[in-house]
Symmetry: C2
Subunit: 208 residues, 2 copies
């Protein structure tokens, strides 16, 4: 039974391109993005653009005003705070669901991602650092093999990424945050779940 490799549709590609532009700050919060404009920029028709924008809206990166226009999402302080609350709840659920076997299976990947974060901190590549940071947390959630949780977290993750770039963390704070990944990994290795919960709580709250 051959495993067909389905190539991305234009809508998929465009979705990723626009998302990248938003998360890189090229498209800033509050900016209006007309479909035709994007269509010309990417050399495609409005149809795949519309689909991509709709999807971005579902992921909370874009806000739609019916019959009017699409706008890049802009956090208020409260919404940022609220998002962090949900994030913490989901990550704590993940920790609760983790078994030692799950940890063993994914610990190498987690360590690799944590190391990538530190590397990118050292070389000063924040964009890449944030990507790896997201991947670290996504991996942690993925460990639980709870699809419903993962897809929920994936959703939040888009917004968390948006949040990170708008926060302008100091190097020092960022160093602290990234270091906490190592502590979290250590607590997982020790199967010390109370410590892990506490570390994660600190970790998320530091970013609020």
């Amino acid at each position: 039974m051959p495993q067909y490799i389905v190539q991305d549709s234009l809508a998929d590609k465009v979705y990723n391109l626009i998302k990248a532009q938003i998360l890189s700050g090229e498209l800033k919060g509050g900016m209006v993005i007309p479909e035709e404009h994007l269509a010309q920029q990417f050399g495609v028709s409005r149809t795949p653009i519309r689909e991509a924008i709709r999807r971005l809206a579902e992921y909370g990166l874009v806000v739609l005003k019916p019959r009017s226009h699409a706008m890049v999402y802009q956090f208020t302080e409260k919404q940022a705070h609220d998002t962090a609350k949900v994030r913490l709840a989901l990550e704590l659920l993940a920790i609760e669901l983790l078994t030692p076997a799950m940890v063993t299976k994914h610990i190498n990947e987690l360590s690799r991602l944590a190391a990538d974060c530190q590397y990118n901190l050292v070389v000063g590549n924040r964009a890449e650092l944030f990507v790896k940071d997201s991947l670290f947390h996504l991996e942690l959630v993925k460990c639980t093999e709870n699809e419903a949780l993962f897809s929920m977290y994936e959703r939040l993750d888009s917004r968390i990424q948006l949040l990170r770039i708008s926060k302008n963390f100091s190097d020092e704070l960022l160093g602290n945050i990234i270091h906490q990944h190592l502590l979290i990994i250590q607590s997982l290795k020790n199967n010390d779940m109370p410590a892990c919960r506490e570390l994660m709580t600190k970790h998320v709250n530091h970013q609020m």
Copy 2:
């Protein structure tokens, strides 16, 4: 400043119609739904149908197979269980975030919805009972005024609704579940949050 009343687009209407068909069981899990078929059924073109199906997929009620077809989502036992875990985590977060003032503000609406559930149980209208049950929990989450949490929970709610109709609860169990709403309300009135947490945990776990 006038508050414009924007009427639903065809895509919105179709989205609601298809969603209703899925949640009523008219469209059963595993069924393939070709766009053209729905377009003819609703007397519109494929464009708004496509948008609606995409959205249903984002809400987890439909699964898309790229370049092939859309299918009504079908729970496995594990996925149902996993979903309940996430649900509980979000509802417990809601309870944690609730302040007495928030409770006071919404307690009447909560009571009304709980009563509606009981009424529909007595008259044997399960479809309506499930609608009110969902609304009860959505209202509870809405109390927290945490938009991020609410939109996450709203997402899960679609699937919880799908789950409920596939579960075929006994009248007795259902009576129990619905009665627990009253206990939850009472614990909120008493501002007894530990009790509320415990009741909610039982409430959700009874439905797994």
